[in-house]
């Protein structure tokens, strides 16, 4: 199983992904391919993503049963904990959140 999710991707990349994968929701692509095909498709995403960001998930033989890779700027950053991958969610930059945070601390 292979899932690719793109955000803010140029239409030509989205069209390209639809060549191999099924777009089940806006920017969400699924399919089932071998490792070589997966790497070929991910190369295309890396080349064509521009300002956008993308994530690819595939099932594999890890303890979690899957692995993933990300591309482009996003508030969610992969975090590895002794062999298990989790995701860290960054807070908004200080300029946008400082007031809210100050309120919470009161």
């Amino acid at each position: 199983m292979l899932v690719i999710v793109v955000e803010n991707a140029p239409p030509r990349l989205r069209g390209r992904l639809a060549v191999w994968l099924l777009e089940i929701r806006a920017g969400v692509y699924v399919g089932k391919y071998s490792r070589r095909i997966r790497e070929m498709i991910w190369k295309q995403v890396q080349t064509g993503i521009d300002e956008g960001n993308a994530v690819i998930v595939w099932s594999t033989n890890t303890e979690a049963g899957f692995d993933f890779e990300t591309l482009g700027p996003n508030r969610r950053i992969p975090l590895e904990l002794d062999g298990v991958k989790l995701v860290s969610f960054l807070p908004l930059p200080a300029s946008q959140e400082s007031l809210e945070v100050e309120d919470e601390k009161m």
């Binding site: 303890e63 904990l81 002794d82 062999g83 989790l86 995701v87 969610f89 960054l90 807070p91």
Partner: protein, 306 residues
């Protein structure tokens, strides 16, 4: 009106990942999810419902809501010191099944039954029947010599210089590298064994070979798997002179647990070992008050409170 989600239920131990170690940060619940928040406000979701046990290293704080959520989904929280020296554990209350506890206690109290259970443990562990007509005491002596030989053998196999299993539980870093790797690896194994024992509805303190410790039964069960799983892993890592022994050991243990399908095997092995005592699970006594609200068939293991 907003739709309300159904209540949380634990899932079986075998469907989970084995252990997760977390350090530094506040464990809390945000929007119903279990999160680790660090001092910069970075949130990391931890899928507690899919983890058998969560090891909390120094530098973590746990909120009340987080402990409640861990307990609802049956994730064992283990507070560990540096290198997995245990401090305390909770988060998955044991003793949910009186019938199993009475069964375990009867097996441990009956000398003939206990000997059968101990023999079964050694059979599973050394892959052959122990010599007949020996007492538990004699078997323990035979086992001790055999274990020392196995350590020597595995150390030689991985070309590690090995003196003996020696460690000071109060002072981490005092032991040599192989001993440190072993301590780290066994800590992982003890964590999942305790989670499995609690999930199956038994008591970690009621041991058969080991006694007198809060985790006696955990050591009994862990010993069955120790030499096939974590000991070779620990020596293999030690032979590479690792810069970060703990991290490397945990990574390798995780692989080993997956390869040996350990989480699928622990609970059936516990049942098999106890069944060797040839006593049946006790029925409720006749004058017992019947349950007012019948227990529902749950997704989780027998000892999960659901």
């Amino acid at each position: 009106m907003e739709p309300i989600l159904p209540p949380l239920k634990p899932i079986p131990i075998k469907d989970r990942i084995s252990v997760l170690f977390v350090e530094k940060g506040q464990l809390d619940v945000l929007d119903g999810a279990f999160v680790l928040v660090d001092k910069n406000g970075v949130r990391t979701h931890i899928p507690v419902g899919g983890v058998a046990c969560l090891m909390l290293e120094p530098g973590t704080r746990v909120s009340h809501a987080a402990a409640v959520l861990a307990s609802r989904v049956g994730c064992l929280l283990v507070w560990v010191g540096e290198a997995g020296v245990r401090l305390y554990s909770a988060g998955q209350p044991g003793g949910a099944r009186a019938d199993r506890l009475l069964y375990q206690a009867r097996l441990a109290l009956d000398d003939a039954a206990r000997l059968k259970v101990v023999r079964k443990m050694y059979t599973l562990r050394f892959k052959e029947e122990p010599p007949a007509k020996r007492s538990v005491e004699q078997l323990r002596g035979i086992e001790g010599a055999r274990v020392r030989k196995m350590y020597d053998l595995i150390a030689r196999q991985y070309r590690v210089s090995w003196k003996s299993r020696k460690y000071d539980s109060s002072e981490w870093g005092s032991g040599d590298i192989p001993n440190r790797c072993l301590s780290s690896a066994t800590a992982c194994l003890y964590g999942i064994c305790e989670a499995a024992i609690l999930a199956a509805g038994y008591a970690p303190a009621v041991g058969f070979i080991h006694t007198g410790k809060p985790q006696s039964f955990v050591y009994d069960i862990a010993d069955i798997f120790k030499f096939e799983t974590v000991v070779p892993v620990a020596f293999r890592i030690a032979s590479r002179h690792p810069a970060q022994p703990e991290r490397d050991v945990r990574l390798a243990c995780r692989d080993m647990f997956r390869q040996t399908r350990l989480l699928h095997r622990i609970i059936p092995t516990i049942e098999e070992v106890l069944a060797a005592g040839e006593i049946s699970i006790p029925k409720a006594h006749e004058e017992a008050v019947e349950v007012a609200i019948p227990n529902k068939e749950e997704l989780g293991d027998a000892g999960h409170r659901g």
